[in-house]
Symmetry: C2
Subunit: 200 residues, 2 copies
DNA sequence: CAACTTACGGACAGGTTGTATGGAAGTCAA
DNA sequence: TTGACTTCCATACAACCTGTCCGTAAGTTG
């Protein structure tokens, strides 16, 4: 029927279709192995539309990364709230579990942790991570420092290092043959490492 | 003069020239942004030689990664030996310092930590890391466990997680504006996190 | 409703990877 | 030494991919 659509709606629909179509393709084959033509065709538009809506392939990928980060951030927040941890150890554990669960699918870990740093450049990747993952870690650490549970120190570098450990654990868990066992191992390693920050 | 060279010498010379030429190019511009033609020209050969010696661009890059890993491994071992740490804390600190120093140049951290996972795929990257960096971490951790200084637990996942923290710290330090200060911050964060594994 | 802006499709130019082909360099047996 | 044989390398070629240009359609505004 082709109802009359406003420009904003057309733009939103096209951008959304491209991002939605690109995401699983990037997740399965990687940034370099997927062509803009494949994405456009999967989205039901042409490359012309893609290049009108995004400055280029990299910008489209950035939009996908942004969407993924936003999503896992929301998932983690929801899981933490559901767990409603009472003491510090439970809170740290809940954060670890939520992060590992959120990174389980390739759409998350492959895009956000493997492809993004190389495709967008580390600086840009770090900037995005800082607004989501690392930023969250930093907030948690800061609250622990404020509560006197972690020794006072510069939070930013500590947040990066802890986030690095979390990222690697997520990849270890997600990419293993026996997923269940690997998640358990990764959880164990993180629970051995991170609570070591607590003052006792 | 063009002395007569044996086939093995020709092969070795060509492969070495390609790897040596490719390394700084990949380090500065990244894997995707450098063409096989640029590499071949920088090496003083043609793409024909490149494709005769390596199965493709990716295999050449893998050779570069391998060389970088081997080199930093040697550097770290030498620095540890030079430091000759006596107690556990000093040993851990020496490992941290040596790793951060080894990753300072882009030729190391950009190639081995940023480009390699995406270009070679995480599985292959992990396999290489395991023969070098992660493997080394695992050996150190195992010795600590054997000595009763770290709680008994599966070493492999712990080694991955610790290596992830080290990698992120190296990137944080290497990519910062004020290098000196960032190295100090990264070192501080690692020294706050890793010794937390020690039983007290 | 007419001028204007925005969204999009198709075609083109430049550059990239990998392969195929022919010749040069080295090896080995007689 | 020589002649067959293998290895090494350079050039030419085909397929593909990105980004841009231009024309057209859809929507907006005075």
């Amino acid at each position: 029927m082709e109802v009359k659509r406003t420009q904003a709606q057309r733009t939103a629909a096209t951008r959304a279709a491209l991002v939605v179509a690109a995401r699983p393709l990037f997740a399965e084959h990687g940034y370099a192995a997927i062509s803009t033509d494949q994405i456009a065709r999967a989205a039901g538009v042409t490359r012309g539309a893609l290049y009108h809506q995004f400055a280029g392939k990299e910008e489209l990928f950035a939009a996908v990364v942004e969407q993924v980060e936003e999503e896992i951030q929301a998932r983690i927040a929801a899981e933490i709230e559901a767990a409603a941890p009472t003491d510090v150890d439970a809170m740290i554990g809940a954060n670890i579990d939520a992060f590992l669960a959120a990174c389980a699918e390739p759409e998350v870990h492959r895009i956000a942790l493997i492809e993004a740093p190389a495709a967008l450049g580390w600086e840009r990747w770090r900037e995005i991570c800082f607004r989501y993952g690392v930023g969250n870690v930093e907030r948690v650490l800061q609250s622990l420092i404020d509560a006197g549970l972690v020794a006072d120190q510069p939070v930013r570098p500590l947040a990066h290092v802890v986030a690095g450990a979390l990222d690697e654990a997520a990849l270890y868990a997600a990419r293993a043959g026996d997923r269940e066992a690997a998640v358990e191992e990764a959880r164990g390693a993180l629970r051995a490492l991170i609570p070591g920050l607590l003052t006792r």
